[in-house]
């Protein structure tokens, strides 16, 4: 709790305390915590002097502003048409096997979360996925194994 308080305060110092600062602060919390807890939202509401329901409403609007606990590495596999055509399901299957979680879940060690997302803008190089901010394209099950193994080592 005190850490969250300090984190939010620091982010508000950086980004300001107007409504326009809200999304940068939420993004900042994601960078540090991987998700925005209710405590974090309460602190943000306090710093910005807006209602907590508005913070919650804004956060839940945006796919990348998770309000549920996520792993250190959030994997988002593109599910939009061309990635779907190029075998996105195989990629997800491979990831589920590797991480031993189902889509939407987080590994027990809080290292990986496996999610689907809408178009990532790599339609010519599908299937594609993001791991946090990093984009990986032209995926094959083999390639996915290599990538995940690298992350497991991190």
């Amino acid at each position: 709790m005190p850490e969250i308080k300090d984190l939010v305060k620091g982010l508000a110092d950086t980004h300001g305390r107007t409504r326009e600062s809200l999304i940068p602060i939420l993004q900042g919390v994601i960078t540090h915590e991987n998700y925005i807890s209710d405590e974090a939202m309460t602190e943000i509401a306090r710093e910005l002097d807006i209602s907590a329901a508005q913070v919650y409403g804004t956060a839940t609007f945006y796919s990348f502003l998770d309000t549920q606990p996520r792993g250190k590495y959030v994997i988002r596999v593109c599910k939009t048409i061309t990635c779907a055509m190029k075998g996105k399901n195989l990629i997800i299957q491979e990831l589920e096997d590797l991480l031993k979680v189902k889509l939407g879940e987080t590994t027990p060690n809080r290292k990986f979360s496996l999610l689907e997302t809408n178009c990532l803008g790599w339609c010519h190089k599908g299937p594609a996925m993001l791991i946090n901010d990093e984009a990986y394209t032209e995926l094959t099950p083999e390639k996915v194994r290599e990538i995940i193994n690298e992350y497991i080592k991190k």
Binding site: M41, A52, A53, Q54, Y56, G57, T60, F61, T67
Partner: protein, 597 residues
Amino acid sequence: MAKNINIKIDGITVSVPEGTTILEAARQLNIQIPTLCYHEDLCIAGNCRVCVVELKGARTLPASCAMPVSEGMDVLTNTLKVRTARKHIIELLLSEHNAQCTTCYKNGKCELQDLASEYKISNGETFIDLVPSKNYQIDSYSPSIIKDDSKCIRCQRCVRTCEELQHVSALGVAYKGDKMKISTFFENPMFEVVCTNCGQCVNRCPTGALIERNYIDQVWDAIYDENTHVVVQTAPAVRVALGEDLGIETGEIVTGKMVTALKRLGFNSVLDTDFTADLTIIEEGNELLTRLKRALVDKDPSVRLPMATSCSPGWIKFIEHTYPEYLDNLSTCKSPQQMFGALAKTYYAQKRKIDPAKIISVSIMPCTAKKFEADRPEMRSSGYKDVDFVLTTRELAVMIKQAGLDFGKLPESDFDSIMGQSTGAAVIFGATGGVMEAALRTAYEVVTGREVPFDDLNITPVRGMDGVREAAVTISGTKPEWSFLEGATLKTVVAHGLVNAKKVMDSVRDGKADYHFIEIMACPGGCLGGGGQPVPTNKEIREKRAKAIYQEDAGKPIRKSHENPEIIGIYAEFLKEPLGHKSHELLHTHYKARQRY
């Protein structure tokens, strides 16, 4: 001055000021365009799209509520294209809506139902029912408000009400797309968030998504139970609005009919919250004068000024959440409802020789927050729950209909006694500024021995519908014991709607104001615009109710609380003195700081 714009609607030419919307222009021509998300008290949303019209030359059908007129516009409100689109939109809303109308609390009072009926939506045409796939939740933890997401049409009237009128934003919009919903913080129960229970959202919800928790059956049970003595009190604002739900013109006072109806419903004693409104004035007026004395004469640094009124439970919960450092500024007086409740099971019980355990105390309130207030753990100073059931004006109207009474034709009758007599000062509690005016009428006279220096006791500066109204009264010719107030100017402010309460409290907090006395009512217009009042509400309706209230005051033989014979009687026989021991036990309370978020 804004220039005028000429447009044509359904072939009829109309000239309206620049900035007028198509919807408003059409209404001027008595052309009704259906609406759902539109509400006169709120900013334009343009969400539901049911008010679409055809605009010659335009590719799309604009929402008439959100489209300002422009020169030469040619608008058509009743074409095949418009009809088809509106019908589709109503059908879409119904497909997301739990349309079990016959068992819905709002059956017959639902704007979506009205539209479905008007457009003759039949089963065969409707789209796939989406409700089974929605996992809708019902939040029924609050003693005041029930939120049923399965009835919600996402018009966001409640969200705008909570933000624009109340600055609470307990309700917001969460998620997007098919998952978009009206939600509290983290989808917590309304009971656990910053909701003040004011019910302004309930008053504006077009469907059954937000309703008051009703206690109609419990009250009937109490009435039918021969072992109980059921007393009922009616708040000042009920009598100027109840008629609206029972086929009577807005702004008509129905006090006498209401009393008759309550007696016919079977209440054992029909009494008046106005009596305890008068009592509040005595207690609160003395509290104010005592605080002034301690501050000015004794120089006691612990005295908190300005003092703020405490009659409005929505305001109380708001300050508990939002300005907990100012709780000591609140008058310790209970609201008239709770004073009444405490006295009903003590003073009244003794006088009438009734076992208080057998008394069921019911109140009729223009308010949903009163339901919460009655449930507060502090409100048991009689040794019992002081007020057992709180019904809104709307619930009373339902009971009157259920009892088969033709309200308009009822004869008039008087309140029972004791605790049924009141003054004009009590009546005006129902309007914003009324408590202030009533308090000034009494306090000025206590201090000077003379009536307030306003024509016919009408302290007009505190009346009206401006959100924040300041008034100053200079005191002169004081009695010897109040000489420290000689020449002092009593600075007062009145605010209604919590968005205005915030303005006042911020200026107090920031040291920009040096008020002595603050009146705040949570609801727009004061209690007459309460969340428990008949639907619809708008500025015009609230002004008519206010006019009725001041009419009732003007017509009362006694217009100052301290002249109420029953008040004089209760002090002589029971309470002994204002702010005395008994008063503290029964009529005063304390507040608790609540979490800000």
